[in-house]
Symmetry: C2
Subunit: 233 residues, 2 copies
Protein backbone atom coordinates (compact mmCIF):
# COMPACT_ATOMS: atom_id res chain seq x y z
CA UNK A 1 0.00 0.00 0.00
CA UNK A 2 3.00 2.32 -0.33
CA UNK A 3 2.42 2.90 -4.04
CA UNK A 4 1.33 6.52 -4.71
CA UNK A 5 -1.62 5.57 -6.89
CA UNK A 6 -4.58 7.80 -7.54
CA UNK A 7 -7.36 5.29 -7.17
CA UNK A 8 -10.89 5.90 -8.28
CA UNK A 9 -10.01 9.14 -10.03
CA UNK A 10 -8.89 9.83 -13.59
CA UNK A 11 -5.51 11.48 -13.93
CA UNK A 12 -4.75 14.09 -16.58
CA UNK A 13 -1.09 13.02 -16.84
CA UNK A 14 -0.98 9.20 -16.66
CA UNK A 15 2.27 7.30 -16.39
CA UNK A 16 1.57 5.90 -19.86
CA UNK A 17 1.83 9.35 -21.41
CA UNK A 18 5.11 10.07 -19.68
CA UNK A 19 6.61 6.81 -20.97
CA UNK A 20 5.57 7.63 -24.52
CA UNK A 21 2.74 5.06 -24.68
CA UNK A 22 -0.11 6.26 -26.87
CA UNK A 23 -3.08 7.10 -24.66
CA UNK A 24 -6.00 9.44 -24.79
CA UNK A 25 -6.81 11.87 -22.01
CA UNK A 26 -8.58 9.75 -19.42
CA UNK A 27 -10.10 12.65 -17.49
CA UNK A 28 -13.71 12.03 -18.51
CA UNK A 29 -16.03 10.66 -15.90
CA UNK A 30 -19.62 9.37 -16.05
CA UNK A 31 -20.32 7.08 -19.05
CA UNK A 32 -17.27 5.07 -19.93
CA UNK A 33 -15.54 6.00 -23.17
CA UNK A 34 -15.08 3.43 -25.95
CA UNK A 35 -12.36 0.82 -25.84
CA UNK A 36 -10.14 2.80 -28.20
CA UNK A 37 -8.42 4.55 -25.29
CA UNK A 38 -6.12 2.93 -22.76
CA UNK A 39 -8.40 3.36 -19.78
CA UNK A 40 -11.31 1.77 -21.64
CA UNK A 41 -9.11 -1.08 -22.83
CA UNK A 42 -8.00 -1.79 -19.26
CA UNK A 43 -11.61 -1.74 -18.01
CA UNK A 44 -12.73 -4.10 -20.78
CA UNK A 45 -9.84 -6.47 -20.05
CA UNK A 46 -10.66 -6.33 -16.33
CA UNK A 47 -14.34 -7.14 -16.94
CA UNK A 48 -13.29 -10.13 -19.04
CA UNK A 49 -10.83 -11.37 -16.43
CA UNK A 50 -13.19 -10.95 -13.46
CA UNK A 51 -16.03 -12.64 -15.37
CA UNK A 52 -13.76 -15.52 -16.37
CA UNK A 53 -11.81 -16.08 -13.15
CA UNK A 54 -13.52 -14.17 -10.37
CA UNK A 55 -11.78 -11.62 -8.18
CA UNK A 56 -9.24 -14.01 -6.66
CA UNK A 57 -8.32 -15.66 -9.94
CA UNK A 58 -7.89 -12.49 -12.00
CA UNK A 59 -4.46 -10.84 -11.88
CA UNK A 60 -3.34 -7.31 -12.70
CA UNK A 61 -0.60 -8.88 -14.83
CA UNK A 62 -3.11 -10.83 -16.98
CA UNK A 63 -5.43 -7.83 -17.25
CA UNK A 64 -2.52 -5.63 -18.35
CA UNK A 65 -1.46 -8.22 -20.92
CA UNK A 66 -4.99 -8.45 -22.33
CA UNK A 67 -5.17 -4.65 -22.53
CA UNK A 68 -1.65 -4.53 -24.02
CA UNK A 69 -0.35 -2.12 -21.40
CA UNK A 70 2.24 -2.24 -18.66
CA UNK A 71 0.89 -3.51 -15.28
CA UNK A 72 2.18 -0.28 -13.70
CA UNK A 73 -0.22 1.66 -15.90
CA UNK A 74 -3.16 -0.38 -14.55
CA UNK A 75 -2.11 0.52 -11.01
CA UNK A 76 -1.58 4.13 -12.01
CA UNK A 77 -5.07 4.52 -13.45
CA UNK A 78 -7.02 2.39 -11.00
CA UNK A 79 -4.95 1.78 -7.84
CA UNK A 80 -5.39 -1.66 -6.26
CA UNK A 81 -7.03 -4.73 -7.84
CA UNK A 82 -10.04 -4.09 -5.63
CA UNK A 83 -10.37 -0.50 -6.84
CA UNK A 84 -10.07 -1.72 -10.43
CA UNK A 85 -12.82 -4.27 -9.70
CA UNK A 86 -15.19 -1.57 -8.44
CA UNK A 87 -14.48 0.63 -11.48
CA UNK A 88 -14.90 -2.25 -13.96
CA UNK A 89 -18.06 -3.69 -12.44
CA UNK A 90 -20.28 -0.64 -12.88
CA UNK A 91 -23.53 -1.95 -14.40
CA UNK A 92 -24.68 0.33 -17.23
CA UNK A 93 -28.27 0.01 -16.02
CA UNK A 94 -30.22 2.74 -14.24
CA UNK A 95 -32.69 1.09 -11.83
CA UNK A 96 -34.84 4.22 -11.74
CA UNK A 97 -35.25 4.03 -15.52
CA UNK A 98 -35.86 0.27 -15.63
CA UNK A 99 -38.69 0.03 -13.10
CA UNK A 100 -41.33 2.13 -14.92
CA UNK A 101 -40.94 0.24 -18.20
CA UNK A 102 -41.25 -3.13 -16.44
CA UNK A 103 -44.23 -2.01 -14.38
CA UNK A 104 -46.14 -0.79 -17.44
CA UNK A 105 -48.31 -3.57 -18.86
CA UNK A 106 -50.34 -6.36 -17.29
CA UNK A 107 -49.76 -6.32 -13.51
CA UNK A 108 -50.16 -10.12 -13.45
CA UNK A 109 -47.04 -10.62 -15.58
CA UNK A 110 -44.53 -8.10 -14.22
CA UNK A 111 -42.49 -11.06 -12.92
CA UNK A 112 -42.27 -12.47 -16.42
CA UNK A 113 -41.11 -9.11 -17.77
CA UNK A 114 -38.43 -8.84 -15.06
CA UNK A 115 -37.04 -12.33 -15.83
CA UNK A 116 -36.99 -11.55 -19.56
CA UNK A 117 -35.18 -8.26 -18.87
CA UNK A 118 -32.53 -9.94 -16.67
CA UNK A 119 -31.96 -12.74 -19.22
CA UNK A 120 -31.48 -9.99 -21.82
CA UNK A 121 -28.76 -8.39 -19.67
CA UNK A 122 -26.90 -11.73 -19.50
CA UNK A 123 -27.08 -12.19 -23.25
CA UNK A 124 -25.80 -8.67 -23.88
CA UNK A 125 -22.00 -8.60 -24.30
CA UNK A 126 -21.96 -5.16 -22.67
CA UNK A 127 -23.50 -6.37 -19.38
CA UNK A 128 -22.85 -10.12 -19.20
CA UNK A 129 -19.18 -9.87 -18.07
CA UNK A 130 -20.11 -7.42 -15.33
CA UNK A 131 -22.87 -9.63 -13.95
CA UNK A 132 -20.70 -12.75 -14.16
CA UNK A 133 -17.75 -10.94 -12.61
CA UNK A 134 -19.76 -9.72 -9.64
CA UNK A 135 -21.41 -13.11 -8.96
CA UNK A 136 -18.19 -15.10 -9.39
CA UNK A 137 -16.21 -12.72 -7.21
CA UNK A 138 -18.88 -12.29 -4.53
CA UNK A 139 -18.35 -15.90 -3.51
CA UNK A 140 -14.83 -15.21 -2.24
CA UNK A 141 -14.16 -11.47 -2.12
CA UNK A 142 -15.77 -9.27 0.57
CA UNK A 143 -15.84 -6.13 -1.62
CA UNK A 144 -17.57 -8.02 -4.44
CA UNK A 145 -19.96 -9.56 -1.91
CA UNK A 146 -20.74 -6.06 -0.68
CA UNK A 147 -21.45 -4.92 -4.24
CA UNK A 148 -23.79 -7.87 -4.85
CA UNK A 149 -25.45 -7.22 -1.48
CA UNK A 150 -26.05 -3.60 -2.46
CA UNK A 151 -27.40 -4.62 -5.88
CA UNK A 152 -29.83 -7.10 -4.27
CA UNK A 153 -30.91 -4.81 -1.44
CA UNK A 154 -30.91 -1.42 -3.17
CA UNK A 155 -30.70 -2.11 -6.92
CA UNK A 156 -33.33 -2.58 -9.62
CA UNK A 157 -35.24 -5.30 -7.76
CA UNK A 158 -35.71 -3.04 -4.74
CA UNK A 159 -36.81 -0.16 -7.00
CA UNK A 160 -39.38 -2.40 -8.65
CA UNK A 161 -40.62 -3.75 -5.33
CA UNK A 162 -40.94 -0.23 -3.93
CA UNK A 163 -42.99 0.78 -6.97
CA UNK A 164 -45.14 -2.35 -6.64
CA UNK A 165 -45.77 -1.46 -2.98
CA UNK A 166 -46.77 2.14 -3.62
CA UNK A 167 -48.32 2.36 -7.08
CA UNK A 168 -51.67 1.18 -8.39
CA UNK A 169 -52.73 -1.34 -9.50
CA UNK A 170 -49.90 -3.20 -7.72
CA UNK A 171 -50.44 -1.76 -4.23
CA UNK A 172 -53.96 -3.19 -4.13
CA UNK A 173 -52.69 -6.53 -5.44
CA UNK A 174 -50.14 -6.84 -2.65
CA UNK A 175 -52.27 -5.45 0.16
CA UNK A 176 -51.11 -3.85 3.42
CA UNK A 177 -49.48 -7.00 4.88
CA UNK A 178 -47.36 -7.61 1.78
CA UNK A 179 -46.16 -4.03 1.85
CA UNK A 180 -44.50 -4.60 5.21
CA UNK A 181 -42.39 -7.31 3.56
CA UNK A 182 -40.94 -5.11 0.79
CA UNK A 183 -37.27 -5.79 1.61
CA UNK A 184 -37.87 -9.53 2.05
CA UNK A 185 -39.65 -9.63 -1.32
CA UNK A 186 -36.78 -7.80 -3.05
CA UNK A 187 -34.17 -10.17 -1.62
CA UNK A 188 -36.26 -13.25 -2.50
CA UNK A 189 -36.37 -11.98 -6.10
CA UNK A 190 -32.61 -11.51 -5.96
CA UNK A 191 -32.05 -15.01 -4.54
CA UNK A 192 -33.85 -16.65 -7.47
CA UNK A 193 -32.19 -14.48 -10.11
CA UNK A 194 -28.68 -14.91 -8.67
CA UNK A 195 -29.29 -18.65 -8.43
CA UNK A 196 -30.43 -18.67 -12.04
CA UNK A 197 -27.24 -16.87 -13.10
CA UNK A 198 -25.18 -19.34 -11.06
CA UNK A 199 -26.94 -22.34 -12.59
CA UNK A 200 -26.99 -21.07 -16.18
CA UNK A 201 -23.73 -19.18 -16.54
CA UNK A 202 -21.33 -20.05 -13.70
CA UNK A 203 -21.99 -23.75 -13.05
CA UNK A 204 -23.66 -24.34 -16.45
CA UNK A 205 -25.92 -27.17 -15.36
CA UNK A 206 -28.00 -28.68 -18.15
CA UNK A 207 -30.68 -28.52 -19.40
CA UNK A 208 -31.25 -25.19 -17.59
CA UNK A 209 -28.03 -23.65 -18.95
CA UNK A 210 -29.03 -24.06 -22.60
CA UNK A 211 -32.80 -23.71 -22.20
CA UNK A 212 -34.24 -21.03 -24.53
CA UNK A 213 -34.92 -17.73 -22.78
CA UNK A 214 -38.69 -18.10 -23.17
CA UNK A 215 -38.64 -21.54 -21.49
CA UNK A 216 -36.85 -19.98 -18.51
CA UNK A 217 -39.18 -16.97 -18.54
CA UNK A 218 -42.23 -19.26 -18.44
CA UNK A 219 -40.76 -21.36 -15.61
CA UNK A 220 -39.29 -18.60 -13.42
CA UNK A 221 -41.59 -15.67 -14.24
CA UNK A 222 -44.42 -16.86 -11.93
CA UNK A 223 -41.88 -17.33 -9.11
CA UNK A 224 -40.77 -13.71 -9.42
CA UNK A 225 -44.39 -12.58 -9.77
CA UNK A 226 -45.25 -14.24 -6.47
CA UNK A 227 -42.20 -12.80 -4.71
CA UNK A 228 -43.09 -9.33 -6.02
CA UNK A 229 -46.82 -9.20 -5.49
CA UNK A 230 -48.17 -12.59 -4.38
CA UNK A 231 -48.75 -14.42 -1.12
CA UNK A 232 -45.37 -15.15 0.48
CA UNK A 233 -46.56 -15.81 4.03
Amino acid sequence: MSRPASPGRADPAPAGARSGRPTERPGRSGRRPGTSDTRGRILAAARGAFAESGFDGATIRAIAAAAEVDPALVHHYFGTKQQLFVAAMELPVDPAAVAPSLLAGDPATVGTRLVRFVLGLWDDPATRPVMLGIVRSAASDPVAAGMLRAILAEGPFAAIVRAVMSEEPYATLVGPIGQADAELRATLVGSQLVGLLMARAVVAVEPLASAPAEVVVAAVGPTIQRYLAGDIG
Copy 2:
Protein backbone atom coordinates in the same frame (compact mmCIF):
# COMPACT_ATOMS: atom_id res chain seq x y z
CA MET B 1 3.31 -31.95 -9.89
CA SER B 2 6.58 -33.79 -9.21
CA ARG B 3 5.68 -34.45 -5.60
CA PRO B 4 5.20 -38.20 -4.97
CA ALA B 5 1.87 -37.83 -3.17
CA SER B 6 -0.68 -40.57 -2.75
CA PRO B 7 -3.84 -38.60 -3.48
CA GLY B 8 -7.31 -39.82 -2.65
CA ARG B 9 -6.05 -42.85 -0.80
CA ALA B 10 -5.20 -43.36 2.85
CA ASP B 11 -1.66 -44.43 3.59
CA PRO B 12 -0.77 -46.87 6.34
CA ALA B 13 2.61 -45.18 6.97
CA PRO B 14 2.04 -41.42 6.78
CA ALA B 15 4.91 -38.95 6.82
CA GLY B 16 3.64 -37.65 10.16
CA ALA B 17 4.29 -41.01 11.79
CA ARG B 18 7.82 -41.14 10.43
CA SER B 19 8.60 -37.69 11.85
CA GLY B 20 7.32 -38.72 15.28
CA ARG B 21 4.08 -36.71 15.07
CA PRO B 22 1.24 -38.43 16.97
CA THR B 23 -1.25 -39.77 14.44
CA GLU B 24 -3.75 -42.57 14.27
CA ARG B 25 -3.85 -45.12 11.51
CA PRO B 26 -5.66 -43.34 8.68
CA GLY B 27 -6.42 -46.44 6.62
CA ARG B 28 -10.16 -46.50 7.23
CA SER B 29 -12.40 -45.52 4.36
CA GLY B 30 -16.14 -44.87 4.16
CA ARG B 31 -17.51 -42.71 6.99
CA ARG B 32 -14.93 -40.20 8.11
CA PRO B 33 -13.45 -40.84 11.55
CA GLY B 34 -13.72 -38.21 14.31
CA THR B 35 -11.45 -35.18 14.44
CA SER B 36 -9.19 -36.75 17.04
CA ASP B 37 -6.94 -38.20 14.33
CA THR B 38 -4.69 -36.22 12.03
CA ARG B 39 -6.58 -37.01 8.84
CA GLY B 40 -9.87 -35.93 10.37
CA ARG B 41 -8.32 -32.75 11.77
CA ILE B 42 -6.98 -31.85 8.32
CA LEU B 43 -10.38 -32.50 6.70
CA ALA B 44 -12.16 -30.39 9.31
CA ALA B 45 -9.66 -27.56 8.85
CA ALA B 46 -10.03 -27.82 5.06
CA ARG B 47 -13.84 -27.64 5.29
CA GLY B 48 -13.55 -24.53 7.44
CA ALA B 49 -11.05 -22.88 5.08
CA PHE B 50 -12.98 -23.68 1.89
CA ALA B 51 -16.25 -22.49 3.46
CA GLU B 52 -14.62 -19.27 4.66
CA SER B 53 -12.46 -18.38 1.66
CA GLY B 54 -13.52 -20.54 -1.26
CA PHE B 55 -11.13 -22.74 -3.22
CA ASP B 56 -8.88 -19.96 -4.50
CA GLY B 57 -8.62 -18.18 -1.16
CA ALA B 58 -7.90 -21.25 0.98
CA THR B 59 -4.25 -22.29 1.23
CA ILE B 60 -2.63 -25.58 2.23
CA ARG B 61 -0.45 -23.58 4.60
CA ALA B 62 -3.45 -22.10 6.44
CA ILE B 63 -5.26 -25.45 6.52
CA ALA B 64 -2.15 -27.13 7.94
CA ALA B 65 -1.82 -24.41 10.56
CA ALA B 66 -5.47 -24.80 11.60
CA ALA B 67 -5.01 -28.58 11.83
CA GLU B 68 -1.71 -28.10 13.69
CA VAL B 69 0.23 -30.26 11.26
CA ASP B 70 3.04 -29.67 8.79
CA PRO B 71 1.87 -28.64 5.29
CA ALA B 72 3.84 -31.59 3.88
CA LEU B 73 1.58 -33.92 5.83
CA VAL B 74 -1.50 -32.39 4.16
CA HIS B 75 0.05 -33.07 0.76
CA HIS B 76 1.08 -36.53 1.86
CA TYR B 77 -2.44 -37.53 2.92
CA PHE B 78 -4.45 -35.77 0.24
CA GLY B 79 -2.22 -34.79 -2.69
CA THR B 80 -3.03 -31.48 -4.34
CA LYS B 81 -5.31 -28.74 -2.99
CA GLN B 82 -7.93 -29.86 -5.48
CA GLN B 83 -7.78 -33.46 -4.28
CA LEU B 84 -8.07 -32.23 -0.70
CA PHE B 85 -11.10 -30.20 -1.74
CA VAL B 86 -12.85 -33.23 -3.21
CA ALA B 87 -12.11 -35.29 -0.09
CA ALA B 88 -13.27 -32.56 2.29
CA MET B 89 -16.46 -31.65 0.44
CA GLU B 90 -18.18 -35.02 0.69
CA LEU B 91 -21.74 -34.28 1.83
CA PRO B 92 -22.82 -36.74 4.54
CA VAL B 93 -26.24 -37.02 2.94
CA ASP B 94 -27.52 -39.99 0.97
CA PRO B 95 -29.94 -38.76 -1.70
CA ALA B 96 -31.52 -42.18 -2.00
CA ALA B 97 -32.37 -42.10 1.70
CA VAL B 98 -33.60 -38.51 1.71
CA ALA B 99 -36.13 -38.71 -1.11
CA PRO B 100 -38.59 -41.22 0.43
CA SER B 101 -38.86 -39.32 3.71
CA LEU B 102 -39.52 -36.03 1.91
CA LEU B 103 -42.04 -37.59 -0.46
CA ALA B 104 -44.05 -39.13 2.39
CA GLY B 105 -46.79 -36.77 3.54
CA ASP B 106 -49.07 -34.33 1.76
CA PRO B 107 -48.08 -34.23 -1.94
CA ALA B 108 -49.08 -30.55 -2.08
CA THR B 109 -46.34 -29.56 0.37
CA VAL B 110 -43.33 -31.63 -0.70
CA GLY B 111 -41.67 -28.35 -1.79
CA THR B 112 -42.05 -26.98 1.72
CA ARG B 113 -40.52 -30.12 3.19
CA LEU B 114 -37.56 -29.92 0.79
CA VAL B 115 -36.83 -26.27 1.68
CA ARG B 116 -37.06 -27.06 5.40
CA PHE B 117 -34.67 -29.99 4.91
CA VAL B 118 -32.11 -27.90 3.01
CA LEU B 119 -32.28 -25.06 5.57
CA GLY B 120 -31.65 -27.71 8.21
CA LEU B 121 -28.49 -28.82 6.40
CA TRP B 122 -27.20 -25.25 6.39
CA ASP B 123 -27.87 -24.83 10.09
CA ASP B 124 -26.10 -28.11 10.91
CA PRO B 125 -22.40 -27.56 11.75
CA ALA B 126 -21.64 -30.94 10.15
CA THR B 127 -22.96 -29.97 6.71
CA ARG B 128 -22.92 -26.15 6.57
CA PRO B 129 -19.17 -25.78 5.85
CA VAL B 130 -19.37 -28.34 3.05
CA MET B 131 -22.31 -26.60 1.34
CA LEU B 132 -20.72 -23.16 1.77
CA GLY B 133 -17.35 -24.43 0.55
CA ILE B 134 -18.81 -25.95 -2.61
CA VAL B 135 -20.91 -22.90 -3.49
CA ARG B 136 -18.13 -20.38 -2.74
CA SER B 137 -15.56 -22.40 -4.66
CA ALA B 138 -17.82 -23.23 -7.61
CA ALA B 139 -17.78 -19.58 -8.61
CA SER B 140 -14.09 -19.67 -9.50
CA ASP B 141 -12.81 -23.26 -9.51
CA PRO B 142 -13.74 -25.69 -12.32
CA VAL B 143 -13.52 -28.79 -10.10
CA ALA B 144 -15.84 -27.24 -7.51
CA ALA B 145 -18.16 -26.08 -10.31
CA GLY B 146 -18.22 -29.66 -11.58
CA MET B 147 -19.11 -30.93 -8.10
CA LEU B 148 -21.96 -28.42 -7.78
CA ARG B 149 -23.12 -29.29 -11.30
CA ALA B 150 -23.22 -32.98 -10.35
CA ILE B 151 -25.09 -32.22 -7.11
CA LEU B 152 -27.69 -30.16 -9.00
CA ALA B 153 -28.07 -32.57 -11.91
CA GLU B 154 -27.69 -35.92 -10.15
CA GLY B 155 -28.00 -35.23 -6.41
CA PRO B 156 -30.95 -35.24 -4.01
CA PHE B 157 -33.08 -32.85 -6.09
CA ALA B 158 -32.85 -35.11 -9.12
CA ALA B 159 -33.69 -38.15 -6.97
CA ILE B 160 -36.76 -36.37 -5.62
CA VAL B 161 -37.82 -35.22 -9.08
CA ARG B 162 -37.42 -38.74 -10.46
CA ALA B 163 -39.60 -40.09 -7.66
CA VAL B 164 -42.18 -37.35 -8.25
CA MET B 165 -42.27 -38.29 -11.93
CA SER B 166 -42.73 -42.01 -11.39
CA GLU B 167 -44.57 -42.52 -8.11
CA GLU B 168 -48.18 -41.92 -7.19
CA PRO B 169 -49.75 -39.61 -6.23
CA TYR B 170 -47.10 -37.30 -7.71
CA ALA B 171 -47.02 -38.75 -11.22
CA THR B 172 -50.69 -37.94 -11.69
CA LEU B 173 -50.13 -34.43 -10.28
CA VAL B 174 -47.39 -33.67 -12.79
CA GLY B 175 -48.95 -35.36 -15.81
CA PRO B 176 -47.20 -36.74 -18.91
CA ILE B 177 -45.96 -33.34 -20.21
CA GLY B 178 -44.30 -32.42 -16.93
CA GLN B 179 -42.55 -35.78 -16.82
CA ALA B 180 -40.64 -34.92 -19.98
CA ASP B 181 -39.21 -31.90 -18.14
CA ALA B 182 -37.71 -33.87 -15.22
CA GLU B 183 -34.14 -32.60 -15.66
CA LEU B 184 -35.28 -29.01 -16.17
CA ARG B 185 -37.40 -29.24 -13.02
CA ALA B 186 -34.47 -30.58 -10.98
CA THR B 187 -32.14 -27.80 -12.14
CA LEU B 188 -34.79 -25.12 -11.50
CA VAL B 189 -35.08 -26.42 -7.93
CA GLY B 190 -31.30 -26.25 -7.67
CA SER B 191 -31.16 -22.71 -9.03
CA GLN B 192 -33.52 -21.41 -6.34
CA LEU B 193 -31.82 -23.30 -3.51
CA VAL B 194 -28.29 -22.30 -4.58
CA GLY B 195 -29.48 -18.69 -4.91
CA LEU B 196 -30.99 -18.90 -1.44
CA LEU B 197 -27.68 -20.16 -0.03
CA MET B 198 -25.83 -17.37 -1.85
CA ALA B 199 -28.23 -14.71 -0.56
CA ARG B 200 -28.45 -16.01 3.02
CA ALA B 201 -24.99 -17.34 3.74
CA VAL B 202 -22.47 -16.08 1.17
CA VAL B 203 -23.64 -12.53 0.42
CA ALA B 204 -25.74 -12.26 3.60
CA VAL B 205 -28.31 -9.82 2.25
CA GLU B 206 -30.89 -8.70 4.80
CA PRO B 207 -33.64 -9.30 5.73
CA LEU B 208 -33.44 -12.66 3.92
CA ALA B 209 -30.18 -13.66 5.63
CA SER B 210 -31.64 -13.45 9.14
CA ALA B 211 -35.23 -14.40 8.35
CA PRO B 212 -36.44 -17.30 10.54
CA ALA B 213 -36.38 -20.64 8.75
CA GLU B 214 -40.18 -20.91 8.74
CA VAL B 215 -40.52 -17.50 7.04
CA VAL B 216 -38.19 -18.71 4.29
CA VAL B 217 -39.98 -22.06 4.08
CA ALA B 218 -43.33 -20.30 3.64
CA ALA B 219 -41.94 -17.96 0.96
CA VAL B 220 -39.80 -20.42 -1.03
CA GLY B 221 -41.68 -23.69 -0.44
CA PRO B 222 -44.40 -22.96 -3.04
CA THR B 223 -41.69 -22.06 -5.59
CA ILE B 224 -40.04 -25.45 -5.12
CA GLN B 225 -43.44 -27.16 -5.14
CA ARG B 226 -44.19 -25.62 -8.54
CA TYR B 227 -40.77 -26.55 -9.95
CA LEU B 228 -41.23 -30.12 -8.70
CA ALA B 229 -44.81 -30.85 -9.64
CA GLY B 230 -46.56 -27.72 -10.89
CA ASP B 231 -47.09 -25.99 -14.22
CA ILE B 232 -43.73 -24.68 -15.46
CA GLY B 233 -44.57 -24.18 -19.12
